[in-house]
Amino acid sequence: MSAHGAVPVAVTRPMEGMKVYNQKLGMWVFLLSEVMFFSSLIGAYIILRFANPEQWAEPGVVLAVPLTAFNTFMLICSSVTMVKAFAAIEHGDQAGLKKWLLATILLGAAFVGIQVYEYIQLAGHGFVPMRDAYAAEGGPLYGATFYTMTGFHGTHVTIGVLCLIFTAIKAFRGHYTEMNYGGVEIMGLYWHFVDLVWIILFTIVYLI
């Protein structure tokens, strides 16, 4: 029988099941479904590219690699700040949690901002989904796959930033303690996943 309303008890017997709390398992299963989602997009890209290599420009010709490399660096930094936020609340450091959460939000929002800026620049130069030329700057499929993959990823980052803001509001209200930090941990898992996907996407989309 569960002891409702009792103080947290130390674990005295071996754990059954997955040995992690439900919310963490739930987040991992969700992330695995996201792995399948992004794998399907990347798989479609691979097939389309192999079948129509003439529609892709050389790396760096159309896309701004230095700016996006800096963006990648910022997202990696946001992963560090996120894990520092988690480490802080693991030890009950409320100020640290707030500080590192805010830093993560700033870096994440900056990533989205720079990506939007990049989209505006590309569209301004005529690089849009399904553009019609088979020139050295690439054909219809180049734009289609680029915007699909980076657009879905950018959407995931945006949703992550919104959830982080929600988490930060709860943190500022003192909701998290060293006995109750699961929400920060699973938010961190989502955020690291978003970073992980970008690491793969940046390589595939911008460098190959």
């Binding site: 008890v9 059954e16 040995k19 992690v20 439900n22 192999f50 790396p59 990648t72 595939i204």
Partner: protein, 108 residues
């Protein structure tokens, strides 16, 4: 708070999970590795004169290794129960299959 179910207990929250004692990873060191590998990727992609196949293998290898570092240390998988790690690893061959199986279909 841990709840009791039959013979064992189920982790009910982050604070009451069974944890393996370990030193906290040096997150900044992992960040440095990620940074170095990102720079290496850009250099390999633009400065080197490698043939295309080698280029793709090296870049993908670096990307996968970076992803593994994030998963192991930032997502804490290095210190999670093996059964959770196995659950996650089980999905990866399926994802690879999804990505490459259609390549073998006729007419692509």
């Amino acid at each position: 708070m841990a709840e009791e179910h039959g013979h064992g207990t189920v982790a009910a929250s982050a604070a009451t999970e069974e944890r393996v004692a370990h030193a906290a990873p040096n997150y900044y060191l992992i960040w440095l590795y990620l940074l170095i590998m990102t720079v290496a990727e850009v250099v390999v992609a633009f400065v080197s004169q490698l043939p295309q196949t080698w280029l793709i293998l090296i870049l993908l290898g670096l990307a996968v290794w970076k992803a593994a570092l994030v998963a192991m240390y930032y997502m804490h998988l290095r210190f999670e129960p093996p059964r959770l790690v196995m659950l996650i690893m089980a999905a990866l061959p399926l994802a690879v299959l999804l990505a490459v199986t259609v390549v073998t279909m006729e007419g692509w």
